[in-house]
Amino acid sequence: MSKRRHIVVLAALLLAGCAREQRNFREATPSNETGEGVQMSDIAPGHSAERKPNANPYEDSAYSVSQGKQLYEMYNCVGCHAHGGGGIGPPLLDAKWIYGSEPQNIYETIVEGRPNGMPSFRGKIPESQLWEIVAYVRAMSGQLPKDVSPGREDHMYAKRPEASTPKEHPPQTNVPPGQKEK
């Protein structure tokens, strides 16, 4: 019996290896219009609008997370959030999340924008890159597994890379902003 369990564990490990190394270049973009409207409540006319998948497919692929890191710098998120330490924008390294730490919440924050200066990037950043940036933002607080998170980068050594940052534990808040947590 133990031999079969070893094989299963090995297979799982190999599969994890495959996913981590996946280089997905061509994303079939779901719709012409990038990004959906704001989801205020579950009641909706006609069929129930299926919500965005909570799991981000890019969180297993080290390549996508490193692309997200390059986009984070190139799209000037560094301007406000610095390398995660925060500045004009709130820090992204810590466990405090105003609008929720699930991929879906971060995706909506980027697409819709937030008061006090967070611009809306709907239509400005294609879908695949949005999800790559979301994956990287979660990696900054150590949410992703260590072998997927990016290692040291070839720039000044601003902070320990995501692969070495300890995992933060944000409180589970799916409560929309403004309401008090239960």
Binding site: R23, F25, I125, P126
Partner: protein, 342 residues
Amino acid sequence: MKRRSSFWLVVLCCGLACLVSCHGNQSALDSKGLQAARIERLWWLMFSIVVAVYLVVLGWFGTAVLRSRTRQSVQEIPPQVNVEADRRMTVVVAWAIGLTVVLLFVMLTASVRTGHAIANLSSKNPVTIDVIGHQWWWEVRYEATQADQTVVTANEIHVPVGQPVVIKTSSVDVIHSFWAPNLHGKRDLIPGYQNAVWLQADQPGTYRGQCAEFCGHQHAHMAFFVVAEPLEKFNAWLAQQVSTPAPPSDQVSKQGEQVFLSHTCVMCHTVRGNGSGGKLGPDLTHIASRMTIAAGTLPNNRGNLAGWILDSQSIKPGNKMPPNPLKPDDLNALLEYLETLK
């Protein structure tokens, strides 16, 4: 004897090969520049020595095998020693080694002299071009005394004919290698280093070059063009590149500019004059004046531009430009606008 005929066959195709490889774009033996010509002359000198040595060695080898070949099997022939023949042969070998050393010295001196000749090309105020390597395209900047006079373009370098030009190479990500075989040898673009390459094109024309150091997924599609043109044409081109294109006049181009500013293009690209400032992608201020797009991969026409905008990943899988699904009329307006950016 079988060996003989195949030997002559190789020599024949060796000669044929040289002819075939002589002319043709991006060929090292079709020199159009001062340095490439010197290197080509050195190449033919060393090549002729090498072929001569090869023929001598093969000749000696062929006769040796033919002369001492026997049909007998290995057991029947006892190992024999001929001390007298060995002594004579020692002299022959000594001469052969001596000749080898002499030939090597000839090649060494020729090589070092050519090396110095191509290295000390210089002039007082040459046209200075910064070539900065990105993952899978070339950023080209013409320095100028005033800041607003610097020209930023991509994948296409215009040089005046007959004048030395210095190219300062550096890289923002991995190691690339700047190589236009018709003009000069290659020089690596290494992050953390600033190399300088002196070029001089002697004949006007368009010379294709390609990245020669493996740099990732799209190393194969990272080409550039050096356009050598007379001085006045070069100055006209430079002036045109410095100028900011006039804002679009007709209705469709205006809508195209709006599409450019409201969609994903503005995040990565810059068009001087319409307020965009993205740094991730090449500068598109004078995109319409360039011969190719996507680092020499596609000729620059409306059809290729549309295909490249909509789904660049099918042409250069792995490059930084994402697929951009645009509504047909937006796409059409954008293409109109881009074609005004002469």
